[in-house]
């Protein structure tokens, strides 16, 4: 994937570019807002990682300019401003996701990949299939192979989100934001307990597990 990083802090940019290249992406870097906007409008990128505070131009202005010229490239906004209304403003300006600095690189990767998948689009379906697991979004039923699995509403939402991102890591923060719509770091392992309950239902009694824990990052639902 071809990515554009717009970040004025040299050390932060170097770290980000290095990490992304090691994950197999092609990365261009712009050190200020103007250069970033020129690159973003003249070349095609699969996603843009954009610092909010830039010399010469507010990051949000770049997103707004891109969207105004019908450029729908997914944008992940990075910002040291972590108040909820900053987040809302960032998303309103046309950003696709918002990550507060400092962030864990694994969190950034997981979110970026979710964005890239969203950008890739896909067929509109009422069923999600991951290996032998089948989720009917209309009937709200789940089967694994021939076994019907009973889920509580919140477990269903959790599984649905994992299935939509099947094969990729989703972090605890992403789950808390997307499934429960909360933006805080719980001090207890709430998400882990929800996952282990879900795991009880979809993996117990089957030879191979589907719901995996990725150490230091999050969870991943994969075909067994």
């Amino acid at each position: 994937m071809k990515l554009l990083v717009v970040e004025d802090d040299r050390e932060a940019a170097a770290f980000l570019v290095k990490g992304l290249r090691e994950s197999g992406h092609t990365v261009d870097h712009a050190a200020d807002g103007r250069e970033g906007l020129v690159l973003a409008t003249t070349e095609r990128f699969d996603a843009i990682i954009l610092d909010r505070m830039l010399p010469g131009m507010d990051g949000l202005a770049i997103v707004a300019a891109l969207r105004a010229s019908d450029n729908a490239t997914p944008v992940l906004i990075l910002s040291a401003l972590d108040q909820v209304d900053d987040r809302v403003r960032g998303l309103k300006a046309g950003g696709d996701d918002y990550l507060t600095k400092p962030y864990a690189f694994s969190e950034l990767m997981a979110r970026l990949e979710a964005l890239l998948r969203r950008g890739a689009g896909g067929k509109t379906e009422t069923k999600l299939k991951v290996g032998e697991l089948e989720i009917d979004l209309l009937a709200r039923t789940v089967r694994r192979g021939s076994t019907e699995i009973e889920l509580l509403p919140r477990e269903f939402r959790l599984l649905e989100y994992l299935a939509r991102n099947a094969g990729h890591v989703v972090t605890r923060t992403m789950l808390l934001e997307q499934v429960w719509d909360y933006h805080f770091d719980p001090q207890t392992n709430v998400i882990d307990v929800h996952i282990s309950r879900l795991r009880q239902k979809i993996d117990k009694g089957f030879a191979k597990p589907m719901l995996h824990t990725v150490r230091g990052a999050g969870y991943c639902l994969k075909a067994a």
Binding site: Q83, R154, D185, Q187, V190, V193, H194
Partner: protein, 437 residues
């Protein structure tokens, strides 16, 4: 003041003039009555009676025949009458010795009776004039006195006001120069200046309290962030001293990340508290059903409670409880209360979340049957970084309740900790949305 004096003059002098008119009118009515009943002879008798100098009256009478020869009365001859605009006649009265002073004005009216007999009834205006002169003199002198007194009073008052303002100025100069404990002296009179001084002093007290709070917080931050930073540093240092080992380095780096995350979480919590205390983002306040909000949170925490062997119950009643709030901030605040209950209640216990609305307030309570908090500590645990001795070893940064209180206050509500006998109950009161019944 001039207008007031003019009013007094007008009121008294006009009244006196009216009195004169009325007296003459009454006299005429009386005489006419006598004349009707007793004829000319009776009239003469009455006039003679009334004209006796010893009566000391200021009334003037003159009854003459048709050639104006006096028949009765206290005037020597028919005067030269001047008809005035007001219908009365005026004439010069030369004093015949009975009255003091020189010639003066009299006011009169006259009639012609049957047989050419003429009657004049009048009143000597000397008294009225004298009265008017006295009033004018009195008003003029009192006016002058008032003017002088007013000037003196004004000067004294403004000098005193300026002196008090100067006192306030001097005090603020000294406070600015660093004497923060100094306050503006009060006179104890309870006047506007005292009230101003009281308000300024109260403001200074408030600022001093806030400064002390800030200093306390800064000290706490310095202390509570120094220790983890110190740990972090020494861990890295030790790893570098040890023989090189990739495995060991990985482990230390993992731990370091964990430590850094913990520090970042503390910073975030501090910033959130500061933001909530600054009371800025009212724009985010939207209608919110506290009942479903509590159900969502209970839903999030129910599994983790069960994992610990606790029962988490939720009771909200059937209808919505409408408040205005910022869901994200409130969720952080209330989640802290639930997390505390989960953390400190031993296995087998129950955590009860309840929402009810009454008397314009919505009440959300999180009750547990854990060890509780001693009464004297229940306020202090809201202070930043304050942790009970018993919980020092438990994970946490001592900011959860501070954040909860700041957020609830931002929403115009209150939060208290009470005895649940046994256990603790956190009571959050939030104002109901105005449109809710």
């Amino acid at each position: 003041m001039l207008a007031m004096l003019a009013l007094i003059y007008w009121q008294t002098v006009v009244y006196a003039t009216q009195q004169t008119d009325e007296t003459i009118d009454a006299e005429i009515t009386g005489l006419a009555e006598q004349y009707r009943q007793r004829g000319l002879a009776g009239l003469v008798a009455v006039i003679n009676e009334r004209s006796k100098p010893e009566r000391g009256s200021s009334m003037l009478y003159l009854l003459t025949d048709q050639r104006q020869n006096p028949l009765a009365g206290n005037l020597s001859r028919w005067p030269d009458l001047e008809v005035q605009a007001d219908g009365w006649m005026r004439f010069q009265l030369s004093d015949d010795g009975r009255r003091k002073g020189g010639p003066h004005i009299a006011q009169a009216t006259s009639f012609v009776l049957a047989g050419g007999v003429q009657l004049l009834v009048g009143r000597d205006l000397s008294e009225v004039t004298a009265f008017r002169n006295r009033i004018v003199a009195a008003l003029a002198s009192s006016g002058a006195l008032m003017l002088v007194l007013g000037l003196i009073g004004g000067i004294v008052l403004s000098r005193r006001a300026l002196a008090r303002i100067e006192t306030i100025n001097r005090t603020s100069d000294r406070i600015m120069a660093g004497e923060f404990g100094r306050r503006i002296p009060l006179k104890g009179s309870g006047d506007e200046f005292d009230r101003l001084a009281q308000n300024l002093n109260a403001m200074l007290d408030q600022i001093e309290r806030l400064m002390a709070g800030m200093r306390q917080v800064t000290d706490n931050i310095a202390h509570d962030l120094r220790s983890p930073l110190g740990r972090l540093r020494s861990r890295i240092e030790v790893a570098l001293i040890e023989p090189p080992s990739t495995e060991r380095y990985r482990e230390v780096l993992q731990q370091t990340i964990g430590e850094a995350d913990h520090l970042l979480a503390t910073f975030t919590a501090l910033l959130d508290i500061a933001e909530a205390e600054a009371g800025s983002p009212r724009g985010q306040m939207v209608p919110l059903d506290l009942a479903s909000f509590a159900r969502d949170l209970a839903d999030l925490y129910e599994p983790v409670a069960e994992e610990k062997g606790l029962r988490l119950t939720i009771e909200t009643g059937p209808g919505p409880i409408e408040i205005r709030g910022d869901r994200h901030m409130l969720s952080r605040a209330i989640a802290n209360l639930v997390e505390n209950a989960v953390k400190y209640t031993p296995a087998g216990g129950t955590i009860a979340v309840k929402v009810a609305g009454d008397g314009g307030m919505a009440r959300l309570t999180v009750a547990d049957d854990g060890p509780g908090i001693p009464a004297e500590e229940r306020e202090r645990v809201f202070d930043r970084f304050y942790r009970l001795e018993a919980s020092r070893t438990t994970e946490g940064n001592g900011l959860g309740l501070s954040l909860a209180r700041a957020v609830v206050r931002l929403h115009g509500g209150t939060i208290t900790l009470e005895d649940n006998g046994p256990g603790l109950v956190a009571v959050v009161s939030l104002p109901l949305a105005p449109e809710a019944g």
